[in-house]
């Protein structure tokens, strides 16, 4: 062993050696799983229903928003309810990644100050938690869909690539916002308003085709717009999503992921000083 296994030198902006970073991240995948599991358990630890809240939460949520639609529009049909639940649940996958991710670094202070590990693990586990929360809602949706009597079709499998794109987007957003929060703590307080705005800008309470032509430009600035529309087309209507929407969604997801990860990786060695 004549060469050092680790060399620490003054911090320069720029990426750490990526291969070694990936290796050490991969070797800690069991920790990510275990850490997420314990965080998830802790969230509903003291409540009477316990883990049942994972299913109750989305059900109550969709009931409240359905009430809103019925009151505003006067009436509603089963397709609209299916659309609402499907898109709302997917939206909450992203929103939960953001709310979990924003404080992942600042809350992991003890861990960061006392152990050396790839810091990106913390926002990753925030996304893993959001995915754990999302999976039961997907099952709930499939039950709702069956109860409503919507026909099943092979085109529904388009939802798989849409889901993968959404996960990548959620990861990119979580990584970005956790990094921003280290330098600018106020972002955590802004976040509820940001997600709420995003909710109304996305085709959830309405369908993408209902949008007035004047408001069409909105969809250009919302990465979730094409994704949620594709999701609804595939899962609710049993149609193939628009190719353009799939590509735009993928573009957003890859773009945000790459930019966010770059910033995170080039900054993360400084986090310990900033906390």
């Amino acid at each position: 062993m004549s060469t050092p296994t680790q060399v620490y030198e003054p911090f320069r902006a720029g990426l750490p050696p990526l291969r070694r970073y990936w290796k050490s991240l991969w070797s800690r995948r069991t920790f990510i799983a275990e850490y997420s599991r314990s965080e998830l358990r802790e969230q509903h630890f003291d409540s009477a229903f316990g883990q049942l809240w994972l299913v109750l939460n989305p059900l109550l949520l969709s009931a409240v928003y359905f009430l809103l639609i019925v009151i505003i529009r006067g009436s509603s049909d089963s397709t609209r309810y299916a659309h609402l639940t499907a898109t709302l649940f997917l939206f909450y996958l992203v929103a939960n990644s953001l709310t979990g991710g924003v404080k992942s670094i600042t809350a992991g202070q003890r861990l960061i100050l006392n152990t050396a590990f790839p810091r990106i693990m913390l926002p990753i586990s925030a996304v893993v938690i959001a995915i754990f929360k999302f999976l039961p809602t997907l099952a709930v949706f499939l039950v709702i869909r069956t109860v409503l009597g919507l026909p099943f079709s092979w085109q529904m499998f388009w939802s798989i690539p849409v889901l993968l794109i959404t996960m990548l987007l959620a990861l990119g957003l979580a990584v970005t916002i956790s990094c921003i929060n280290v330098y600018f703590r106020d972002i955590a307080s802004f976040l509820p308003y940001m997600t709420r705005t995003l909710l109304y800008l996305s085709p959830i309470l309405y369908e993408a085709s209902d949008l007035k032509p004047q408001l069409r430009t909105l969809e250009l600035f919302n990465p979730l717009f094409p994704i949620l529309d594709s999701w609804s087309r595939a899962l609710v209507h049993g149609q193939a999503p628009l190719a353009s929407h799939m590509l735009i969604g993928l573009g957003w997801a890859v773009g945000i992921f790459l930019i966010g990860t770059y910033f995170f990786l080039s900054r993360e060695r400084e986090f310990a000083v900033r906390l």
Partner: protein
């Protein structure tokens, strides 16, 4: 096989919590509200395998900062650290523990946080449980533990990691006298020719007993390094406390 900390300075900018308000205020006044603290100043330190190095110094001397730089947690602002082998840190006890989970779950959580694999923990689990002397309490949630029980489990997990270089930062002062004795013995067991140990402590008697080398840090500078007796005597004279009970008591 050595840890080499060649001339290493680490300056930190202590900002108040970075918020928009503080930003806007400081914009008006021009310039950032930061203080620069020289935590470490040109420290040179080599540690060979087989060495047990004790680090002493007053509060704020830069001991913990030095440990964190060696462990790769804080980036140095100057100089270079070369580490040959795997480093494990015991800077604080119970890192990664989740109080609402059972002791059993936390053994896995803490072990994984320390870089062990699940299989390794599996094979050492009995040993950890036995060493911690928790008995059946291991399956109770950790928030029901007394602080001594908490610390005992944390130390037991940490002492199971078998790295090439182990850094222990005042983590020994846990539990009652009996457990202290036991953990000290464990540290002694860990001494071997193919491992380097770095201990940060205020317990002079223990360091004299365990270490074969002591370094004295003061205000970020390395004051003296060498034979434990000589350095500790010099440090005691500097503190002008003599061989009082207070510094020998706690481990």
């Amino acid at each position: 096989m050595s840890v080499r900390g060649l001339g290493l300075t680490y300056t930190t900018a202590i900002d108040r919590r970075p918020t928009l308000k503080a930003r806007v205020k400081s914009l008006g006044r021009g310039g950032k509200q930061t203080r620069v603290i020289r935590a470490l100043d040109e420290v040179n330190l080599d540690v060979e395998y087989g060495q047990v190095l004790g680090i002493i110094g007053t509060n704020g001397a830069g001991k913990s900062s030095l440990m964190r730089v060696i462990a790769g947690i804080l980036p140095p602002t100057q100089g270079r650290v070369e580490v040959y082998g795997s480093v494990s840190t015991l800077l604080a006890l119970g890192v990664g523990f989740n109080p609402s989970m059972s002791g059993r779950d936390n053994v896995y959580l803490g072990g994984l946080a320390a870089g062990m694999s699940r299989d390794e923990i599996d094979s050492h689990f009995e040993e950890i449980a036995e060493f911690s002397e928790l008995g059946e309490a291991i399956d109770a949630p950790m928030r029901t533990y007394s602080s001594g029980m908490y610390a005992r489990l944390a130390f037991s997990v940490a002492a199971t990691v078998r790295p090439d270089i182990l850094i222990v930062d005042e983590a020994l002062s846990t539990g009652d006298a009996k457990f202290k004795e036991k953990s000290l013995n464990r540290i002694k067991e860990l001494r071997s020719d193919d491992r380097a140990l770095i201990l940060v402590s205020h317990a002079m008697a223990t360091l004299e007993d365990v270490c074969n080398d002591v370094a004295w840090l003061h205000k970020g500078k390395l004051v003296q390094r060498g034979d434990p007796k000589t350095v500790i005597t010099a440090y005691r004279e500097f503190l002008q406390v003599g061989k009082s009970a207070a510094i020998d008591e706690d481990v």
